[in-house]
């Protein structure tokens, strides 16, 4: 009997089989898209953070017979995008921690000690115990180094004491930052100083988020007018995306935050609760950090201002780890020279060593030091490394995608996504979420959904 178009669908045996086939096809679509390639290459991945772990999972699935080594000393994996929420008193620290063993794929040799050096011409990685690992292909995913020592008198151990906070220091540092802010608010009055660094930093929105969440807490205390809040930045900009930069500046002005530009934190006296800022001139910008470092960190000709504080949020200068900086892999010229890994920012292949790829915070790029960037970079490195192994032209290009759920208060955020092109134009993933809108949904994504998405990235699934 012919079925009328408006009749309810009947689930006969043939249709059930068709649907089953479709469902099976969906389930295994990832596997079909990424067929394994035979290889006996030795691949070393230096670093087991978001980038290194994502690459270990992706490459172990794509390569059959390759010897993949992951160098990562830490047993615990930290979800660092959650540290601002810990330091703001929204999350408990434990929520950001998982065992690394959970993410390391089978068949990958996990070396539990830090790398100490890279001999790029000799294709060797040196470990802290002096052992050397030979490689055919190298993925540099070390993350970056926090250079608190470039601020005189400052060390990460001071975080949580003498009114000093720093969300970047560690998960313990984030929790101590929360406690320090609590203590400041409990005083009922006082001066808080928030700073930015004169170098590229990971999660460049974090210093701004810490300011906004602290403002939320000050307002909730009912005594906002008894607190002075200053933000001191080394450059003209507070954020690389121009629209967001203007928005943040306007919002700071509306919320009574005093902005001072072209000042970098150069020294701190914890016992006196005094901070010294050096005027770094109107030409300085985040991307001119190399010149800034040489000219200003010497403190010989800088104009300085000393100010007292009740709370200070310290953002340290950052760079690639020392063993990268002393290797032949570091950039030799351009804005990232001497400080960051020298890669083509689109292919992520090293500019002088074609068998070396870089991913994550360590690379010299104008933006891109976020976990969201890793999500976009990992498929590019995977495809290009596979092509390099087969002697083919590199097929994939990274568009600079990065994302910052810009928390503008505890409970609201803007889902800011942008890339390299058109002066960091927006690249929204969801057409129904306007990156220029403060919204509850964007906050919920930050609070509830981005951590699961992050773990999927680690597993090479997203």
């Amino acid at each position: 009997m012919p079925q009328h178009p408006l009749d309810p669908v009947r689930l006969d045996r043939r249709r059930l089989l068709q649907w089953s086939a479709c469902a099976t096809g969906l389930l295994f679509s990832a596997g079909l898209q990424a067929r394994a390639q035979s290889s006996n290459a030795r691949i070393v991945i230096v670093g087991g953070g978001a980038a290194g772990m994502a690459m270990a999972n992706r490459l172990s699935r794509r390569l059959d017979g390759a010897r993949i080594t992951l160098i990562e000393p830490r047993e615990v994996h930290h979800y660092q995008p959650g540290w601002t929420l810990v330091a703001s008193g929204v999350w408990r620290p434990e929520k950001t921690m998982r065992s690394n063993a959970r993410f390391v794929p089978g068949g990958v040799d996990w070396v539990r000690q830090p790398a100490a050096g890279i001999d790029a011409p000799g294709r060797q990685v040196e470990l802290s115990d002096g052992t050397r690992l030979d490689y055919d292909y190298l993925v540099v995913a070390t993350g970056l180094q926090l250079n608190y020592h470039l601020i005189d008198g400052m060390s990460p151990e001071l975080v949580g004491t003498h009114g000093i906070g720093s969300v970047y220091a560690s998960i313990e540092g984030a929790a101590r930052t929360r406690d320090t802010i609590d203590a400041w608010i409990a005083q009922g009055q006082g001066k808080g100083i928030f700073t930015a660094a004169p170098t590229p930093v990971k999660c460049a929105g974090a210093p701004l988020k810490m300011t906004f969440t602290t403002l939320s807490r000050l307002e909730a205390s009912g005594r906002r007018n008894d607190f002075q809040v200053d933000f001191l930045a080394p450059g003209d900009a507070l954020f690389s995306q121009p629209w967001v930069d203007d928005f943040v500046k306007q919002r700071f002005d509306e919320q009574g935050v005093t902005r001072r530009h072209h000042y970098r934190l150069s020294a701190i006296d914890p016992r006196a609760r005094e901070a010294e800022f050096t005027f770094v001139g109107p030409d300085s910008e985040f991307t001119s950090h190399h010149e800034l470092r040489e000219a200003e960190f010497s403190r010989e000709d800088g104009r300085t201002v000393v100010t007292d504080y009740d709370f200070i949020h310290v953002v340290p200068p950052m760079s690639a780890p020392d063993f990268i900086k002393t290797s032949d892999l570091v950039a030799r010229d351009g804005p990232f020279r001497g400080e960051w890994l020298d890669v083509d920012i689109h292919t992520l292949q090293h500019n002088r060593y074609p068998d070396v790829f870089g991913i994550g915070d360590v690379i010299g790029a104008p933006i891109n030091k976020t976990a969201a960037s890793v999500k976009a970079q990992a498929p590019v490195v995977e495809a290009n490394l596979m092509a390099q192994m087969q002697g083919q032209t590199l097929p994939a290009r990274h568009n600079g995608y990065t994302s910052c759920p810009m928390i503008t208060g505890i409970g609201k955020a803007m889902l800011v996504e942008f890339g390299y092109d058109d002066n960091f134009a927006f690249l929204p993933s969801f057409p129904f979420i306007d990156p220029k809108d403060e919204s509850w949904v964007a906050w919920v994504m930050k609070d509830r959904m981005l951590q699961p998405a992050y773990y999927a990235v680690l597993e090479g699934q997203a």
């Binding site: 609201k412 919204s439 949904v441 906050w443 609070d447 699961p452 997203a462």
Partner: protein
């Protein structure tokens, strides 16, 4: 994103709530089974109290859903915020109604002709 990628994200998102979700589903199924054994038919049984309670639960979600997400109703502002919030309210009302409607039938002590 692949289908397995979406499943992975969903798995990580739901894991902390797996036991409450499982317990809620079991409770819902048990209440429905017991009520049906005693003659309950969803469309035939009328209970304005259950409907009112479900609506009240939905409206209360305006307060506790933002609180559950460390936020507040004042920050539900964009069009999509409200679409998401209204969907959550409708979903909440529906679940509460599905639980209370047969439960009220059981409380009223009606017995099936089969028992």
């Amino acid at each position: 994103m692949t289908f397995s990628g979406a499943l992975t994200i969903l798995m990580y998102a739901l894991t902390p709530f797996l036991w409450p979700i499982a317990a809620g589903v079991v409770a819902l199924v048990v209440v429905h089974l017991l009520a049906r054994l005693r003659g309950y038919r969803m469309m035939a049984y009328r209970c304005p109290g259950a409907s009112l309670a479900a609506m009240a639960a939905g409206v209360s979600a305006l307060w506790w859903i933002p609180a559950f997400t460390h936020s507040r109703l004042a920050y539900v502002s964009s069009v999509f915020d409200w679409v998401a919030m209204i969907a959550a309210i409708i979903g909440m009302s529906l679940v509460v109604w599905l639980a209370l409607h047969p439960f009220s039938y059981l409380l009223r002590g009606r017995r099936s002709r089969f028992l």
